[in-house]
Symmetry: C2
Subunit: 426 residues, 2 copies
């Protein structure tokens, strides 16, 4: 599944990468203090885009799949990070209930669940799988893409506690992003630690809240490194009250698209960038790359045809799109054998544990590589993201990976702030 390609990291020499490399001590201390004040999410994966002049997060996932795409050699980093986290969050824990997504037929997703369960077990937890899927009414054996066996069991709610037959966990870890709403069975579990919290699910969470929080993190970080925050932060705007089917809200959309494209044009002039500005219009809640459009001109969102409207109207599990985020598009200049490569960075708690590239040949640099049905080839990062080499060029693989890890952590810090701000008041 993973081809043995060489990672040809040929982006233009980044002044940003140079600053990150030189500032590595200050950056690590900054993160150390930051995590003291704002608890990192349990786990995070962040889609990055590298345009040579700019390295920025475009999507921050708080229920990451794809652990199976990481370099197996670095799984010990994940185990150590998870051990530290469990030590802090629930040192007494013996049992952990892992709640995966409902789609039991995606065998690569199940492979991810198997890897995640292995990491968690190695921290000293008994890990069992409980499903929200109503079709799972008895313990069910499922096979992963590489032939591993997983047993998924029906959840059992008893008073304030959630568990399985004969299994009473101290902690519950969701690997289900709750796109279809918060199930009753997960509400009011006041006696158990539920990770991530319910308001991290797509039933509640919005991308615009995330990027608003990220604005603050990026501004702080930019001040630390004395750089333009725009270099790590895509412009964004939002529109509510959209109804793609009824063609309501198109005015808000097109005026925001115009405004954003103009702001990008000014930045491109400032930095002498010759690329064509574009924006991504995305559902404000939801994931899996559904409900995404790439737009180079405001007129494009005023003349949506039926197919485009249908595509934008719903995301995963039928969630209807009524709010959208308009986000500056970041051109991807990274190529592996002429194929567009988009890095994804993984964190457990505050620790970067690795990442991989989504590698695709057919699409252009500005398209979304995580579109539904998109066939990408995952290519695990060859090296860890935590050991820059100050003697190598700022573009050398350890330094490029380190920069990914820094920007990935910035996004996780944004998510930490976002979750604090959106937490229900007790």
């Amino acid at each position: 599944m993973v081809p043995h390609l060489t990672t040809a990291l040929n982006g233009p020499l980044l002044e940003l990468e140079q600053r990150i490399l030189e500032g590595s001590s200050a950056i690590e201390r900054w993160f150390r203090l930051r995590w003291q004040a704002h608890e990192a999410p349990f786990y995070t994966s962040v889609d990055l885009r590298n345009s040579g002049f700019k390295l920025a997060p475009v999507d921050t996932n708080l229920f990451p799949g794809g652990f199976n795409n990481l370099n197996a050699a670095f799984i010990p980093l994940a185990v150590q990070a998870a051990t530290s986290l469990i030590e802090r969050l629930c040192p007494e824990a013996r049992n952990l209930l892992l709640v995966p997504e409902n789609h039991t037929r995606n065998r690569w997703y199940l492979e991810n669940v198997a890897v995640l369960a292995t990491i968690l077990r190695q921290t000293g937890l008994e890990v069992r799988l409980g499903s929200l899927n109503p079709e799972i009414t008895a313990p069910t054996e499922l096979e992963t893409a590489t032939g591993k066996k997983l047993v998924v069991e029906p959840l059992q709610r008893t008073g304030l506690r959630l568990g399985l037959e004969g299994f009473d966990p101290c902690a519950i870890l969701l690997n289900n992003d709750l796109s279809s709403g918060i199930p009753e069975i997960l509400r009011g579990l006041s006696e158990q630690l539920l990770l991530p919290p319910l308001h991290a699910g797509w039933a509640v969470r919005t991308k615009s809240q995330h990027f608003h929080a990220y604005d603050d993190v990026a501004a702080d970080f930019a001040q630390l490194l004395k750089i333009d925050p725009w270099l790590v932060n895509p412009y964004h705007a939002q529109c509510g009250e959209i109804d793609f089917q009824a063609r309501a809200g198109e005015e808000c959309l097109s005026s925001n698209v115009s405004m954003l494209l103009e702001k990008i044009r000014i930045k491109y002039l400032e930095y002498g960038i010759k690329d064509t500005p574009y924006v991504a219009v995305k559902a404000d809640a939801g994931t899996y790359g559904m409900g995404v459009m790439m737009v180079r001109d405001a007129s494009e969102v005023r003349d949506l045809n039926r197919k485009q409207r249908n595509k934008m109207a719903v995301v995963k599990e039928g969630l209807v799109v009524s709010n959208v985020i308009i986000q500056e598009g970041v051109h991807t200049v990274e190529r592996i054998e002429d194929k567009v490569a988009e890095p994804v960075v993984y964190m457990i708690g505050q620790h970067v544990i690795g990442g991989f590239y989504r590698v695709h040949g057919a699409r252009g640099a500005e398209d979304n590589l995580n579109a539904p049905g998109m066939h990408f080839v995952p290519l695990a990062f060859e090296e860890s993201c935590i050991l820059p080499d100050p003697h190598a060029s700022c573009d050398a693989p350890p330094n490029r990976f380190y920069a990914y890890g820094v920007v990935g952590r910035l996004a996780a810090a944004g998510a930490a702030l976002e979750l604090e701000r959106t937490a229900p008041t007790a």
Copy 2:
């Protein structure tokens, strides 16, 4: 320097390893709770011996050198562990002063210092080197074995604080085991975090205090796994008031040697072991393998010739031996291309970060591979010590390495208890 040998792990299939593998979840939880109650030392390296029927620590070093012998691929594990530790111990820290050993001409030792400094810098600390060596009166550039440059500076004491010219650290890390006593300049640094504490130095520490504490840890662990604690714990006894030059204390020594050899014989009978029991007589304080004798019969310690007495009388930096520990010898059955191999496990805080084998051809299985002037070849562990493979045999490399990591951590837990017990009352 490091030959590319294959690690041929051909020890007899260990029931102990099987228990450790099966109990991995329980073991990890046990450690998790243990570290909550007893703070792990800042860093530890542990010499292990594997006799096939027994896997036990023989030496626990609280000022480890040899970081340069670890597998470079796993240095990120060390960085992550150090980051977690600094986060907990001194989150605000910006500057760290590293105090190395005085022997500035051992270029491999300097290589170790360079690797250690790299690990610490990557946690976001400014790291500078300050020497206790009175010959260092100005910043001095030293070259490591691989040609890296290190600058060592004279220490400056100002009131209650220790630093360098223009450098006021929050934390001071000793990589100097204080064999020649506690220097005045290190006393009473009440405003700074001194790691490890002064009573971890060989001026104060004794091996018998360590192994007394280890007895308790091994007993707890044995209860958890329902095994005989002897399988992870060598018998030991001690004699004070020894004067090798004056031939005083030989009676205590020979009676303890007899007693220990008899206890070992009984265990060997119980387990059907055909090997010849032996004990190691070691200086109770001190390191570097000086002051060590291997004894198969009590008569051997009654008839010491001048050379043997001289060898035992002093250890590193002229420290006179007046207390000895007599320790059950553990036969080494591990061989790499017919050469005796002794594993050394490294920890930062409670995390195992790797290890290496001391590989030597000429000596026998029961000799001490860390003797002065002994030329060993370090062979880095190929895999991490934290990811056992439950589907492989208990003797497969990931599982063997995992067992090393477990017993290494037991020794670190012993050291944690030892340091609590020997801490000066405030």
